[in-house]
């Protein structure tokens, strides 16, 4: 799939002007999205949308080419007995596995996303991060998921964090850049909003909640704050930025609530894999089970769905 | 009750820690006999390690229980009353086995249920009568509220096997504290069964922990543990109670003396028993622009 990757030459924004966030209010609004009841044809449509937005992910120290090939096989053949299934958006792996994934996916319209910049901690010298990014792109990555330097951010070194994102953005051309904020380490929703604004001004094509390696990972409240930041940025600059919640979304029901939240915050234009992704591994099978249940009327067992 | 020649299944009495029913880690027991020296049951002779484990459980449970809404705590206490009402016969039987007359046993069980309802009703009210907004002279909004003190160790009344137990547990937990309770040594059966009632009532594990054992062995533990915030005792001569108070001083435990309380009397239930295991926090905030 072709993706737009925009180059920006913005200056560091004045983060003291970033909107304040009231946590209790955010949580109430997020909870309200969960009372939406999505049924029948709108549920089937939503389930298919979720599938098409999944970045099927394996990011383990114990990953091998064998594991990655199996994951790619799953990406291509989600559940052949269900007709008209969309394919997942991408497969997400470590840089050393990009080549394997690229080959295994062949001509299928599924992107290869690679984490980079010393994922998940981000604790490495700048040159190493840049080099890693370049290698991943050379090996065929269509998308780069980078992590911000949380330590620097928490120290208030916004210029440092900004420059780093801009540098990685440059190094990953023509791949598009997702910036992982690691919201679970940022502490407050105010900081999440600030980090979102910072990342977008530095050139992020997508902002992403988490590495999935720590708790809490993605939550509805954190995602809502990021969506609102994207909305305000869009009003200000006319530039769309994508969003990816990652980690902790393992049920179809929850994923649909994320889509409800997306629809009611940013509107229909973002409801495509071009602008929204789910970073997940076991979510796909739960979505498939729900689709099967919608088709047959019968609750399903995991035994009938492949685990790769 | 056995019908005809059926062989009944005897109950094993365990202790209650962290929402589970283990035996005492020490493996020791003592025999509970009735007035005719017949064995009623083998009761766990709890150890200091049991107590230590119970305090850990109570401390872990405190974080969640202390911030549960008052409404939720009230609902849970009401539920305990519902469960106890449903099992009243079991408790009447146990009290009779331990030497009470049927009439007194029934009255004690009913009073225990009603006492739980009484305290359930205080959950969202004691804060209203004991808190205050203080009209300080400076331009500040100043308010004082009650907060639960933490983990409370309780030496339950030795002569009241159910009502005394309930009368001490209810005000402690309705106020958001967690507790470790040493059951009456002479009347321990209802305490263990009450643990089962708690377990069936949505009380989170660790909020109430109930041990059985010898007073003499365990009192020192209940009084001296450095991670217990308050100690409640209901029996003892002046030497005993002085001993408890001295040990409590090591971490400035709040000492709550309930010796000689007539638990049958209605005066024994009042919101001041809740207040005894609460701290007062006062906050200031400027009023201005």
């Amino acid at each position: 799939m072709a993706l737009s990757a925009v180059k920006t030459n913005n200056a560091l924004p004045d983060l003291s002007q970033v909107a304040l966030v009231d946590e209790v209010g955010v949580k109430e609004r997020a909870a309200r999205f969960q009372t939406r009841s999505i049924k029948k044809e709108s549920k089937v449509e939503a389930l298919k949308m979720v599938l098409s937005m999944i970045d099927l992910t394996t990011l383990e120290g114990q990953d091998t080419p064998g594991k990655v090939k199996q994951l790619c096989q799953k990406a291509i053949h989600l559940h052949d007995s269900l007709p008209d299934l969309p394919h997942v958006a991408a497969v997400c792996v470590y840089p050393t596995m990009v080549g394997v994934a690229k080959k295994a996916l062949g001509n299928h319209d599924i992107n290869v996303a690679s984490v980079a910049t010393a994922f998940p901690s981000g604790m490495a010298p700048r040159q190493i991060k840049l080099e890693e990014t370049r290698i991943a792109v050379e090996d065929g990555a269509d998308e780069i998921d980078m992590v911000i330097s949380r330590g620097a951010f928490l120290q208030g070194e916004y210029g440092y964090v900004f420059d780093e994102i801009a540098a990685i953005k440059e190094a990953c051309e023509p791949a598009h850049l997702k910036v992982i904020l690691e919201t679970g380490e940022l502490g407050t929703l105010d900081r999440v909003r600030r980090a979102s604004v910072l990342a977008m001004h530095a050139g992020a094509d997508f902002i992403k909640t988490s590495t999935g390696k720590i708790q809490p990972a993605a939550t509805l409240p954190v995602t809502l704050v990021m969506l609102q930041a994207i909305r305000d940025y869009y009003y200000e600059t006319d530039r769309m930025v994508g969003m990816k919640p990652a980690g902790g979304i393992s049920t179809a029901k929850l994923a649909i609530h994320y889509l409800v939240m997306l629809r009611e915050t940013l509107g229909q234009a973002w409801l495509t894999p071009e602008w929204y992704r789910f970073g997940a591994s076991s979510l796909a099978n739960d979505v498939l089970m729900q689709l099967q249940k919608q088709a047959t009327g019968v609750y399903q067992s995991p035994d009938y769905f492949s685990k790769d | 009750m056995a019908s005809g020649t059926r062989v009944p299944v005897a109950k094993t009495y365990k202790i209650y820690i962290d929402g589970k029913f283990p035996r005492t880690e020490s493996g020791r027991y003592f025999t509970l006999e009735n007035a005719d020296a017949e064995v009623l049951a083998n009761i766990c002779r709890g150890s200091r390690k049991d107590f230590r484990n119970a305090v850990v459980a109570a401390r872990n449970a405190f974080a969640g229980w202390s911030v549960a809404s008052a409404y939720l705590r009230g609902q849970i206490l009401y539920r305990i009353a519902e469960m106890l009402e449903g099992r009243a016969d079991q408790f009447v039987t146990e009290l009779i086995l331990q030497g009470e007359s049927k009439r007194r046993a029934q009255r004690e069980v009913e009073a225990s249920i009603d006492r739980l309802i009484y305290y359930a009703g205080w959950s969202d009210k004691y804060q209203q009568i004991f808190s205050s907004v203080n009209p300080v002279a400076s331009s500040h909004f100043n308010f004082s509220v009650l907060e639960p003190t933490g983990v409370v160790s309780v030496l339950a009344p030795d002569e009241s096997g159910l009502l005394g137990l309930v009368s001490n547990i209810a005000p402690i937990i309705v106020g958001g504290n967690t507790c470790v309770v040493l059951a009456s040594e002479q009347l321990p059966l209802c305490a263990v069964s009450f643990a089962e009632v708690l377990h069936a009532s949505d009380v989170p594990g660790g909020v109430v922990n109930i041990l059985t054992g010898y007073r003499e062995e365990l009192t020192e533990q209940f009084a001296s543990h450095m991670d217990v915030n308050a100690v409640v005792y209901c029996d003892g001569d002046p030497d005993d109670t002085k001993g408890i108070q001295e040990l409590a001083a090591d971490n400035i435990k709040r000492v709550i003396d309930r010796v000689d309380t007539d638990w049958d009397d209605e005066a024994a239930q009042n919101p001041y028993l809740i207040k005894q295991t609460q701290e007062t926090k006062t906050t200031w905030h400027p009023i201005g622009s």
């Binding site: 909107a19 966030v21 999505i38 869009y234 009003y235 | 622009s289």
Partner: protein
């Protein structure tokens, strides 16, 4: 900063399919009598009137029209119960009966929620998540006070009053019934209650619950009817206390009618609350607070935040975000779980709202409504905002009781405060700012009985509610809510 037109498209593409609440798990009778002396009995004159579903205009049931004779029977039954079993039983036992009502309401929660939405028009999500649970919680809270009254009044002994006559409105039918009945019973009184004529059904179901809970006959009596029935209750010489929630207009009539009778009374009347947003507020959450304050429950809320004051430097941003948010509000079938804004309660109320919409435009204000669709049959009003208004507009002064918001700007705290207080009403107010000191300054100075800081329309049985000035007298909820139902002696 913000572009002129909304560039976000909400309403094409992926839609939500209908998600109707099922109505096959309960029954509504064709006809209900008057609940007097523990039984449902026929009205003396044999007259009934219909209650309809405002979303479909279909008849749901017919209920008795209580005449003065019926009211007299009810008061007699209440007096008999008061002199008899109710005052003789222990306070703890009284409490137990009230706890039972709470528990049964929780068991039958889904049924009550569905009937509330059918009868009154409010979305099922609101009745399910707010009205019914809060009603049960009110009974639960006051049940606990029954045997603890000696702690509520320092230095005084409290005594019950006798028979309480209670008249409630149609915007929160079940909740208002619980607000009235629970404290009255806890303090040892007996009750004659009249629900609003357009929303009698949950009151009738509550009567069933009260009967099933085993309360002695006559402790609670529920008589259905309209204005005349209410007047009969207010004027009855053997009623000791009147509790009324409704319009200021009727509250005035009641206060006048009671003059010289020695009857105690509490009145919970209208409002035109100011919702004040400062530039240093958390804006996105403030916008949600605006929506909560005026659009939910179709704006049929006495404490609705119907006058918005936005500090001028953020006004454009707030209005833009509000408009975006309005586009995601779903107006429709109250029984659909996705509906945000249900039906307007009656044709009369819709006509009232529409006349204000016309008036606002005639007065020169700029009207904006969301673009959502509304069903063909039934009574509907889209969420509406008016800009270009000031304190002198009638739509800013008068209570509309619909999803209609009037928006003004302000510059300084003093100006915001002065305009907030510039009204004969004083029920509630909202303050949005991140600065704590400012919150307390505003709460200190806004002349209203309930002030929400960085939130809106929050209710709890422990929290007193009631107005200053023409928004009424007396408080409901909390320890303060007991005052209305006792006599204090030294």
């Amino acid at each position: 900063m913000v572009k002129e037109s909304s560039k976000l498209a909400f309403n094409d593409g992926w839609q939500y399919a209908p998600a109707p609440e099922s109505t096959d798990h309960f029954e509504v009778d064709n006809q209900y009598g008057l609940f007097i002396g523990g039984d449902f009995i026929e009205p003396a004159n044999g007259r009934y009137f219909e209650t309809i579903n405002p979303a479909t205009e279909e008849t749901l049931s017919s209920v008795a029209l209580a005449s003065a004779t019926d009211v007299d029977r009810a008061v007699k039954a209440a007096r008999k119960a008061y002199n008899g079993p109710w005052s003789k039983m222990s306070a703890a036992d009284r409490g137990k009966y009230i706890f039972r009502i709470a528990r049964i309401l929780q068991e039958r929660a889904r049924e009550f929620a569905a009937i509330e939405s059918l009868d009154g028009g409010k979305p099922i999500r609101e009745s399910r998540d707010i009205d019914v649970p809060l009603s049960a919680a009110h009974f639960f809270y006051y049940a606990g006070w029954a045997d603890k009254l000696e702690y509520a009044f320092p230095g005084r002994k409290s005594r019950s009053l006798g028979v309480a006559g209670q008249v409630i409105p149609w915007n929160f039918p079940l909740l208002m019934a619980s607000w009235k009945i629970a404290p009255a019973l806890a303090c040892g009184n007996t009750v004659v209650l009249k629900p609003a004529e357009t929303t009698p059904l949950t009151a009738m179901k509550l009567a069933e619950v009260i009967r099933d809970a085993g309360l002695p006959p006559g402790v609670v009596n529920i008589v259905t009817g309209a204005g005349e029935t209410g007047a009969a209750i207010v004027n009855h010489p053997d009623v000791d206390k009147i509790a009324f929630t409704g319009s200021t207009e009727v509250g005035r009539l009641i206060q006048r009618a009671i003059a010289g009778t020695g009857k105690k009374y509490t009145l919970e009347l209208g409002g035109k609350a100011a919702n004040i947003i400062f530039a240093d507020a958390a804006i996105d959450q403030a916008v949600e607070g605006i929506v909560n304050g005026i659009f939910f429950n179709q704006g049929h809320v006495c404490c609705a935040g119907s006058r918005l004051f936005v500090q001028e430097s953020v006004a454009e941003e707030v209005v833009q975000k509000l408009k975006d948010r309005m586009e995601t509000l779903i107006v429709g079938d109250p029984l659909d779980k996705n509906t945000d804004i249900g039906a307007i309660n009656s044709a009369t109320q819709l006509e009232t709202i529409e006349s204000y919409l016309r008036l606002g435009q005639e007065e020169g204000a700029e009207m904006h409504q969301s673009g959502c669709s509304v069903p063909d049959r039934g009574y509907w009003c889209r969420p509406t905002i008016f800009t270009g208004v000031s304190q002198s507009n009638r739509i800013v002064q008068e209570e509309i009781f619909g999803p209609v918001l009037a928006i003004q700007t302000f510059r300084t705290l003093e100006e915001g405060l002065s305009k907030a207080n510039n009204t004969p009403y004083g029920l509630s107010g909202g303050i949005w700012t991140d600065k704590g000191a400012k919150i307390f300054k505003m709460t200190q100075s806004v002349r209203a009985g309930v002030i929400w800081a960085n939130t809106f329309n929050k209710f709890d049985p422990t929290s007193p509610f009631g107005g200053y000035k023409e928004s009424g007298v007396g408080r409901e909820g909390g320890m303060h809510g007991l005052d209305a139902y006792v006599r204090l002696e030294v």
